[in-house]
Symmetry: C2
Subunit: 327 residues, 2 copies
């Protein structure tokens, strides 16, 4: 495990929380030992090991920088713990671009997958929708969209959805809509034995029409971040409304418990932890500004995805399907 | 003016509302006379003329269908009123693809603009942000993004923003982020004398950082529609919270007035009416499911954009800038 905007001040307490709640989990904390140790006191707790890094990559480190100057950094070491078999999953709140570059270099891609994709759960009317890709791939081919759909289907299935429904995001529902790439991916996905339901539009994500929504990383990143911005604006306006005048304040006190209960599940920290699918091992990206609770969710996500052996399931499904696609 | 999901049942009352509130506006209602006339009673009001159409295009009509079977349809006639000079602007709640195709054919493109772009106002923390393109162009070149930025700047300026700030949507703020197309557009925009502020991310749209946000139509359409879906989900959850239990109900009664006041400006119908920029005349797209009030806003938008002679301003700015870009 490695870093984030707040460094050990958040990672250490989050790691201790997870160790306390999951007695069968061990954590290797990769970072600057001199920053970590003071937060732990004199004795390092059971099941926690500090892996001393020589430096940390910048939170906006580019791939070339990660590859050239990454050796010995906290992220590099975290990936190495996984590639050497000492750890089963890597969690980082660092640069997505650096995670991608080092993930491909140190862990390697699954056979049959061209590029890793970042997936996240988004709250919807019926629970949540998993959206991918979120920015790992700005331009994608039809083949890559198909691979994202298969990876999303596998990752959603291990979460308990028996036959996850998967859709392609597009500007309309009809077969004739969209550009050549989405149309080609649409035609290919129809032939696969996954539960592909066709094109959906932006509003369908939150209506909870499908388990998995697939798009290129440029659009996915804009959808995710604009949604976060919109949610933030609404919450602020809601708060203003509940403080505007004596009656509203009084009413605000009365509605707050049920409001908080219902809106709690839209809390972004609860959805922190985006798996980077397509690598040979489990890698989970945390929000750079994740707090202790949010980072804990990302670690939980990594534990679950490792237990469920998601990379192995993806590889076997991709191999099965490649045969059909090629045949 | 022409159609929509609800046809004359909405267009006729909306037209009458606008005629009542704007004594200097005249409306030519293009559609099936036998459906319109009964809604008007025996006498057609002053400043309202019915232009009898032979048929209406389907709400999902494709460009080729609009071009082949469009002649004599309500949309075709509405565009013809503008091209012949009888009307100053066209409003339609029909198929965007058909509006685009017939707009280009019957009204023509402005010199220097390759493709029209659909723009809409999105509520933000500081008022609103104009977003374009919203789906008229799925794949765009750097040149086209630059043209969208100029068109957005002109359209925002006539709304009263003295030197509208314009930004390109991207997956990060740094110059190194994004694909080749956005990077090239970014470099070109920096050289232009518009108030280009650089890259913004999805969440910046709602934070109200800029007046105009520019992106390709695929991403823009997904951002707009996913935002609409998210807003709908929040309002429903909010409503549930205000009805869950006796105390929440009582509190709900107390907070409702201030809540409605603050949230009213997020009401999508208030933002209905997306100008299709780049054509030689003003064309405004209304939501297909717009109600009477929402369609009224789209007509208002068309009146304002025609008064402000937006196409003329765009053309002169594009010509000025082309010289600089080519030089």
């Amino acid at each position: 495990m490695h870093g984030g905007d707040f460094g050990p001040a958040v990672t250490v307490p989050a790691a201790l929380d997870v160790l306390a709640s999951r007695p069968d989990v061990e954590i290797l904390l990769c970072g600057m030992a001199e920053d970590i140790q003071p937060l732990l006191g004199r004795t390092t707790p059971d099941r926690l090991t500090i892996i001393a890094a020589s430096h940390a990559l910048a939170s906006d480190a580019r791939p070339v920088e990660a590859l050239r100057r990454g050796r010995g950094s906290s992220l590099w070491l975290a990936m190495e713990q996984v590639s050497s078999g000492r750890a089963h999953a890597c969690v980082s709140a660092g640069s997505t671009a650096a995670m991608l570059a080092l993930g491909v270099k140190l862990l390697g891609m699954l056979a049959g997958i061209e590029r890793p994709a970042l997936m996240s759960r988004i709250p919807s009317a019926s629970g949540h929708t998993s959206l991918l890709d979120l920015g790992a791939n700005l331009n994608v081919s039809a083949n890559q969209l198909v691979q994202f759909a298969i990876m999303g289907s596998v990752a959603s299935a291990v979460e308990g959805n028996v036959r996850p429904s998967v859709a392609l995001l597009n500007v309309g529902h009809e077969d004739s809509k969209g550009d050549a790439v989405v149309k080609e991916a649409h035609a290919m996905l129809k032939e696969l034995p996954i539960n592909y339901t066709g094109f959906i539009e932006g509003h369908d994500i939150f209506a909870g029409k499908v388990n998995v929504a697939v798009c290129d990383g440029f659009s996915g990143n804009l959808i995710l971040k604009s949604g976060e911005g919109l949610a933030k604006m609404y919450f602020r306006q809601l708060d203003l409304a509940l403080h505007s005048g004596v009656l509203a304040r009084l009413g605000g006190v009365l509605v707050r418990p049920s409001l908080e209960q219902i809106l709690a599940r839209f809390e972004p920290s609860k959805h922190n932890g985006a798996p980077l699918l397509g690598l040979r091992s489990v890698v989970v990206k945390s929000h750079g500004n994740a707090n202790r609770e949010a980072l804990g969710h990302a670690i939980d996500e990594a534990v679950e995805k490792a237990r469920q052996q998601v990379p192995k399931s993806i590889e076997s499904m991709i191999q099965d399907y490649s045969i059909e696609v090629d045949a």
